[in-house]
Each structure stands twice: as structure tokens, then as C-alpha cells.
């Protein structure tokens, strides 16, 4: 009897390879879970801190999003703290949209040039240079903005030179390589026979590019632009160095302003954990986080729409 039991156990036991297999599967799955936990942790922590302004300090969400005075140290006539985040929100959006508007034609134009007109030169010069520039640290962009863009703006438009315009210039150069290289990928994905068919119909090269290639690549190009916008929106240091850091409604493009990220970088170290001033900053971080989720969603929607057409 005993020997049959032993035999049964021996037969039913997992082999060494099987144990190794489940072990490896377990390890690799835990690594994946860890990443998911990090994402959930970040969103959870920032959200819980960001909501504190409204939950514990009883600031109304509407006031936070629409009031124009950011001065968390002072209370207004009604005894409510002055935490109107509108100037920063406007600053962030303005700078993002402006830099995307400026960068898009250049990026797409360059991508078209690299892909359609001069693939040889594109591959030899433009591709390596853009790839390299994608990797340049943002503080370097900020430093160049500070030592080149700001003085030029000051000389041309007067004032201090700090402001939305300088920020836009810096972000334009910063997102240009990213948007260009993603647009190039989008154009590369357009099948060759589209172009051949168009040229065979007697279309000129420009007609082919404009009426066929760009139309077919639209979802990819839009993804590239939104991706660039997401990067511009979340960029902290390069913007903070050239924007002037005045939490005021931007009255002109050359007046000092601020963005969500710039207020966060300068402010979070100077406030006490758990105080209203600190909570208000975390609310700004929450806005930033939610916007990055929105950008993510837009990219997804574009991707889905693009797939259905194809």
C-alpha cells in the first residue's frame, strides 16, 4: 500500500522544469503587478492630497477653477482663502496650444520632406539629429531659453523678456523633435502602393502628398501632435525658467505668467505639509494629472478611429 502511495506522489509531483516554469511566471507577473501598483499609488496619493483642499479646507471647486487670484497665504473679504487657479490653468493651456500650433507645420513639413521628397538626406542628416534632440534634457532647453530666448524677447518687445512668448519658443523647440519623429513614423506607415496609385493617375508629387499621403496618415499625425502637447503641458523646469513665475492672469504674451508646473516646482518646497497652501498646490498637481489622463484618452480615441477607417 505504502509503495503505491509513494508512487502516486512521485507521479503527481511537478517536475523541476514545471516548478521553474510556474516560478518564472510568478516572478514576471509580480514585476508587472508592481508597475500597476505604482500607477494606482501615484493616482491615489495625488488625488487624495489634491482633494483635501476641497474636503478639509472647504474651498469650493468652482472658485478654485474660476477665481483669478492665487494667494493662498491671504484670506479674502469673506474669509475664504484666495486659491484661484485660473491664471495657472490658462497659462498652461495657452503655452501648450501656442507651441503646438507653431510646431505642427514645421514638424509635419520636416517629416514629409524626410519621407517623401528626400529620403536619402532625411535618413542621413535629419533622422539622427532629431533622434538625438529628443534625448536632450529639458533643463538644457531651459538654460538656452534663459540665455538666448529671453534676452532676444526683451530686446524686441521690451519688458523683462520672461513670459508666455519665451515659454512658447522654448517648448516649440523642445517638442519639435518628438512630433517630427512620430509624424515620420505615421507617414512611413502609409503603404507604398497608395503613392504609386496616385502618381499613376497623373497626380503631381504635391497632390499625392497633400491629397493621399497626409489624409491617410491623419490619425497618426494627430497622435503625434497630441503627444507633443502632452509633453508641453507636463514640462516643468524648462518652462519655469523662462516664464517669469508671476501667478497673474496673462495680460500679454510678453508679461510674466506662470503654469501649473512652474508654480508646483517653485512652491512645494516652501510650504508646510498638510497646510492649506500645500494642499492647494497638490490640487494643482491633481489638475495636471487629470489633464495627462485626458491627453491619454484623446490619443486612444484617435487611435481607435484611425483603425476603423483602415
Amino acid at each position: 500500500m505504502k509503495s503505491t502511495q509513494q508512487l502516486e506522489r512521485q507521479l503527481k509531483r511537478h517536475s523541476k522544469a514545471a516548478r521553474l516554469e510556474s516560478w518564472g511566471r510568478f516572478i514576471s507577473f509580480s514585476a508587472l503587478l508592481l508597475i500597476v501598483a505604482v500607477v494606482v499609488g501615484i493616482i491615489g496619493f495625488v488625488a487624495s492630497k489634491g482633494i483635501a483642499t476641497f474636503a478639509t479646507n472647504h474651498v469650493s471647486l468652482w472658485d478654485f477653477l474660476t477665481e483669478k487670484t492665487w494667494n493662498p497665504n491671504i484670506k479674502d473679504a469673506h474669509g475664504n482663502p484666495e486659491v484661484g487657479a485660473l491664471p495657472m490653468i490658462v497659462g498652461s493651456f495657452l503655452i501648450t496650444i501656442l507651441s503646438a500650433i507653431v510646431a505642427t507645420p514645421f514638424a509635419i513639413g520636416t517629416a514629409v520632406f524626410m519621407n517623401e521628397i528626400s529620403p536619402n538626406r532625411g535618413a542621413k542628416i535629419l533622422q539622427p539629429v532629431t533622434e538625438l534632440l529628443v534625448g536632450i534634457p529639458s533643463v538644457v532647453y531651459g538654460f538656452i531659453g534663459l540665455s538666448v530666448v529671453v534676452p532676444v524677447t526683451r530686446a524686441v518687445f521690451g519688458g523683462s523678456g520672461f513670459g508666455i512668448l519665451s515659454g512658447t519658443c522654448v517648448l516649440f523647440v523642445m517638442i519639435l523633435p518628438t512630433v517630427t519623429s512620430m509624424s515620420t513614423d505615421a507617414l512611413k506607415a502609409v503603404p507604398r502602393y497608395y503613392r504609386e496609385a496616385s502618381l499613376a493617375l497623373g497626380a503631381t508629387q504635391w497632390q499625392t502628398i497633400y491629397k493621399v499621403v497626409l489624409r491617410a496618415a491623419t490619425p497618426g499625425l494627430m497622435t503625434a501632435v497630441v503627444f507633443g502637447m502632452a509633453r508641453a503641458f507636463g514640462e516643468a523646469l524648462a518652462v519655469q525658467m523662462v516664464i517669469g513665475n508671476a501667478a497673474l492672469m496673462p495680460s500679454s504674451l510678453v508679461a510674466p505668467a506662470s503654469t501649473l508646473t512652474s508654480v508646483l516646482t517653485t512652491g512645494i518646497g516652501n510650504t508646510v505639509m498638510g497646510s492649506l497652501q500645500n494642499n492647494a498646490l497638490w490640487s494643482l498637481a491633481l489638475v495636471l494629472l487629470l489633464m495627462s489622463l485626458v491627453f491619454n484618452l484623446i490619443i486612444r480615441l484617435i487611435g481607435r478611429k484611425g483603425r476603423m477607417q483602415a
Binding site: 522544469a17 514576471s28 508592481l34 534634457p137 529639458s138 540665455s147 503631381t204
Partner: protein, 294 residues
């Protein structure tokens, strides 16, 4: 206007745009290297920074950058490798996998300042690690994980399906196939991905300001005991990196040669990125040749 002239004009305009972009990009690189390289000297690269006087260097910051990079890579590589293996080799195509992929995408699109703030909240305050190399390394890990995972997954994708079938047909388990067949074949492209992501981590500053801190205490480079406070290896000391240093001296620096130091440091950063890029290409190609005897 007939379509031929239109064609010529449009293509001329595209030439103009591309030329302009090349000009901007080259001017940018040229400016960094031309204004920065004259500052570089052995003294600049090794001397400690000075707060009020001229002639400080970036020795400590440079060391901190590399040490943080090393630690961040040490933590993030195994995690990213495991995650990528599971995602590509094991995961079924179902809602769970889709959700996980979405989570990774979200993490990669989060602004680095948000990642830094989370690091501040969690590691510096909650876990009481203080402004330290360790907090900074964790923040950089979070910043790096999604990018590295994706790049390793892409490397696994380039390995032909027949290799997997071959491994399984020989009676190897899936895990053995991955570790003995797929990974060795994928090493060159994984290495390229790792080096490229190292370049990104090396220049990151926003995630570090509130985790690794903004001060660089003097180090005693003779003391290699990681438990001593002045030892370079001590992971609990605050450590300003080169990128943070550039930001710091430009926003609140008071040394008279702040501009020279920033241009020197920018040049060092850009040169390091250049070296990372070339190393990635070169090593990738070389390893590929050696491993595949192509």
C-alpha cells in the same frame, strides 16, 4: 496656377521648412557645445561646487548623476525585464492585459514633476527616507519603468516566432525557452534600449528636485564605506545631480560665474547623451555580430 507650378512651389516650401528646422536644431547643438566646451577642464569636472565664489566645479554633481543612474537602473531593469517577459510571452489577449497596458501607458505619459511629487510624498515624507539618493533612485525608477518595459517588449517582439517554436519543440518549458533561447538572442537590442533610457534618466531633473534634493554635501572620495555620511556610496545622503544643478543655479544661484557653470554643465549633459547614443548603436551592432555570427 496649374498643378505643376503648384507642385514646384509646395516642394520649395517643404525644402524651406526642412532647412529651417535643420538650422534650428544645429544652432541649438552648436550653441550648447560651443559655449560649453571651453568651460570643460579636469578641474571643472572634478572640483566641488562653490556657493558664492567663482571657479567651482561640478565633480560631486557628476558623481551623483552617475550613482543615481546606476541605482535607478539596478532597480528598474529587473522589474522592467520581468514585466516585459510576462506581457509578451505569457499574457493572454484579454481585458486584464489591456488594463495593464493602459496603466503602463498612463505612467509613461505622466509629467515627470508629478512622479517627483509622488516620490516626495511617499518616500521622503511617508517612509522617512528624507531627501536622499534612495528616494531619487525610486522616483527615477518610476519614471523609467514604462519606457524600459516597452523597449524590452519591442526587443522580444523582434525575435522570430520560429525560435520560440523551436524551444518548445525541444521540450523546454516556456520559461526555459525565454531564458535560454529568446533572451540571449534579444540581448543586443535590449542593451540598446537600456542605454538609450539611461540617457533619458541621466538628464532628468524635475523628478529629482524633491526626492534626491537640491544640495550636494561635500564628499570624501577616500571613504568607500556606504554607512559613513560623507562617503560617496552612502545612499541616504542628499544628492543634487548635474541636471538639477543647472536648474538650481539658474533660478537661485548666487555665484558670479553661474552662466559659465551652466553652459559647462549643459555641454557635459549633452556630451553624455551623445556618448550614450553612439554607445547604444555601436555596442548593439557589435554584440549582434558576435552573438549571431552574422
Amino acid at each position: 496656377m496649374n498643378s505643376k507650378t503648384q507642385n514646384k512651389m509646395a516642394i520649395g516650401a517643404l525644402y524651406g521648412i526642412a532647412g529651417f528646422v535643420v538650422l534650428i536644431l544645429l544652432a541649438l547643438l552648436g550653441y550648447i557645445l560651443i559655449s560649453g566646451t571651453p568651460q570643460l577642464s579636469w578641474h571643472f569636472l572634478t572640483a566641488p561646487a562653490k556657493a558664492f565664489l567663482k571657479g567651482g566645479g561640478v565633480g560631486v554633481q557628476l558623481f551623483n548623476s552617475f550613482y543615481l543612474l546606476f541605482l535607478a537602473m539596478l532597480i528598474s531593469f529587473p522589474i522592467a525585464l520581468g514585466a516585459a517577459i510576462y506581457l509578451y510571452e505569457y499574457a493572454k489577449n484579454n481585458w486584464l492585459t489591456t488594463t495593464i497596458r493602459t496603466a503602463i501607458e498612463i505612467l509613461s505619459s505622466l509629467p515627470s514633476v508629478v512622479v517627483g511629487l509622488f516620490g516626495f510624498l511617499f518616500f521622503v515624507v511617508k517612509l522617512r527616507l528624507g531627501f536622499s539618493i534612495l528616494s531619487g533612485a525610486f522616483a527615477l525608477t518610476f519614471f523609467n519603468l514604462p519606457l524600459l518595459t516597452r523597449s524590452i517588449e519591442d526587443s522580444l517582439r523582434t525575435i522570430s516566432e520560429t525560435q520560440r517554436e523551436g524551444g518548445l519543440a525541444l521540450g523546454l518549458s516556456r520559461w526555459e525557452t525565454v531564458t535560454k533561447v529568446i533572451l540571449p538572442a534579444a540581448v543586443p537590442s535590449i542593451l540598446t534600449g537600456v542605454i538609450l533610457s539611461a540617457g533619458r534618466v541621466f538628464g532628468e531633473a524635475a523628478a529629482l528636485i524633491y526626492t534626491a534634493g537640491q544640495s550636494a554635501p561635500a564628499l570624501n572620495f577616500m571613504d568607500w564605506n556606504p554607512f559613513n555620511i560623507s562617503s560617496p556610496l552612502n545612499p541616504m545622503r542628499p544628492a543634487e545631480t548635474l541636471a538639477v544643478h543647472i536648474w538650481k543655479i539658474n533660478s537661485e544661484g548666487i555665484m558670479p560665474d553661474a552662466k559659465a557653470i551652466s553652459s559647462g554643465s549643459s555641454a557635459v549633459l549633452v556630451l553624455a547623451i551623445l556618448i550614450f547614443n553612439f554607445a547604444a548603436r555601436y555596442l548593439g551592432k557589435r554584440l549582434y555580430k558576435r552573438l549571431t555570427s552574422a
